[in-house]
Amino acid sequence: MPVVPREGAVVTASVFFIAIMLACAPSAGAAEPLRVLTSFLPMEIFTRNVVGDTPGVVVVSMLPASMGCPHDYALTPGDMRKIASADLFVANGFGMEDFLGEPVRRANPKIRIVETARTVLPIHGGHVHGDVNPHTWVSPRNAILQVREIEKALSAAKPLGAASFRRNADAYVSRLSALAAEFDAAAKVFRRRNIVTFHNVFAYLARDIGVTVVGEIETAPGQEPSAGEIRKLSRTIRERKVPAVFTEPQYSRHRFPGPHGLRGRDATKPLHAKGGAVGPMTGSERLHTLEIRNLTVRKGGVEILSGIDADLRCGEVTALVGPNGAGKTTLLLAILGQVPYTGEIRFCRAAEHGQGAPRIGYVPQRLPLDPDAPITVLDFFALSAQRRPVFLGASRRTREAARESLERAGVAHLLQSPLGRLSGGELQRVLFALALRDAPDILLLDEPVSGVDVAGEELFCDFLSKIQRDSRFSLLLVSHDLSVVTRHADQVICLNRRLVCSGATTEVLTPENLAAMYGTDAHLFRHTHANGHGHLHDDGGR
């Protein structure tokens, strides 16, 4: 043990003591810090930006950041404790915090409530929150007003910090102004200015940038629209030529009406990253087209798949993900009835699809063709479409159907090309065209974008918007490309010889599930090449 001079220890202790005294000095008389409670994430962000590093202020948030709007929030005992110990409560107001009022006052009669939206010019419109649309903060212009309200309230509660609050608020407001200008500039290029939103979140922003909200999918959050409402909405979208539906990633994306090719290029993409792959509009309830129960496939005494339960829902895009050798293709083959299995695969058909066995379209991962095969694209269509042997020529009906579906896939010029000489992307388009021609109930795609160029991936997106339009069939796609999965799939089935997880895309693709599937070292990362996909990489390094 080293010898420490006594005087040294005393000096250290007194310096420490003085430092503490000095730190406390500005708030002398109010030794307690100012406790600011914020209602939900935007309020917390605004408040923290205004407070900055000002000493003697503690900011606490009531709702966890992962929660969206505090629409139906119910107070917990922990929240009541937070309220009881707070001096200032920063809320949005306009009815956003339904839980404000009596319980809060009872928990803490002295609390000062700041309704930051007070100075915003309200938009009225039917909503569960009340008459006034409460989503004011989504517009950066409103955010500026609300930040100024917070600054005012903080300065009143703690005059000593006023200068610091002003400085921080000024800096933050200038950033918000820049953001507002960016929105304005982005909005200038829009040709069509009607949009549909998930619920009325974008109203204030739309007002700022001169876009009209002509419809809402869920007028009350969590309350699914009825068939009649959806029909009305679909008509609105068609008639008013709505180029974009604004979605919110935390809510289900299944029930957007998609009559209009909603991935329009002039749409409002910069505003929201989620352009939404979209489901069917056949009614208010979604039917399963395919139910898999306890499916087990054995090959050579080895269980390739064991105890799989999964559903395909009508008109939805379901992605099948998993590492190499996980049994993805085997599952497709089982659905196609090409491998023996135990368990059950049930096909369910909606009445509108008619009777009989469902048509299953299948686009294999690879179609190994020798380049010399004397088979043209037209022959390929004829082989599965007409009774007349192909050596007697293609019938007129075959020829017309082939030309039409090739046109839909953007490859009409390939009609007479030899099948074996097509590039990977061209062959994919031809296979898609063939699948489209037969109007399948279920379409199985095995690695649709592997080995395909960027144009090929664009086709995939076009193809999905076709699904939106026709909303006829369920799509099951095997993909390694998680960016494709997250952008286009409604549901995900994760396989690794057994079912790892399944459910809505946003809920299922968690780090834990990915680790369970690919091993602990798996992670999602972005390639630097031009199309910038996210790929999953397991130790196999594919």
Partner: protein
Amino acid sequence: MESILSGAFALMDRLLPFAFAEPAFMKRALLALLLTAPAAAALGVPLVQHRMAFFSDAIGHSAFTGVALGILLGVSPSWTMVAFGVLVAVAITLVKGRTELSSDTVIGVFFSTVVALGIAIISREKGLTRNLQAFLYGDPLAVTDAELLWMAALLLLVSAYLAFLYNRILLLGIHEGFARTKGVRVPAVEISFALVVALVVTAAIHTVGILLVTALLVIPAAAARNVARGAASALWISVGVAALSGIAGIVASWYLDTATGATVVLAAAACFAVTALFRASRPRE
């Protein structure tokens, strides 16, 4: 029956007023080739698409054992050859569908087993070797009326079969899984195709022999691949090449005094060479 054949011969006399076509045996040989070669060539197109050249070779060689069995049992070897060929074809197809082994491995096993059995039989019966010559090298000049009628019936059968199933066979040749989703009943198509190939192979053995019978299926189809642009032209070019090399081979063998079957195959090979040159001279798109 006989009247059908004599009618055909009379027609040939009018159409081919040449010295080579005068003897009856030449007319028979020509008729035999015009009946079997186009049928074999038509089957050859999907056969090549299915990569089944080795399969047809195995059937051809199983005929060797079939003939040996016929002679051994005192039955007409023409019919034991057909029966044994069909048996082997169906067996290979069934086994192929039930193992993980690749099809050429399965065929290789059957091929050598069957040929070994044939050789074992012949080695026991010393007098057999001479009778086998006709089957090994083919003897179209000695074809019987019954065989000609059988070949005619077979040509009709093959035509009907291909008219009915050609699309499904070709689709299966492109991709099995894909064909299944288009409603092709794979086992039925595979077995029926193997059966028809076996029938045609055993019939064609009379014209070009066991050793060369695969050539009648593969070479015209290969020549067609060199020049055909689509599925229709591939089949018709293949059939045309077969008919042309049949006639050219017979005429050449008459003037060159060579084995007829071998000369026919050489003529087909010449057609292949011409189409290959044509293809090489054509700019590739």
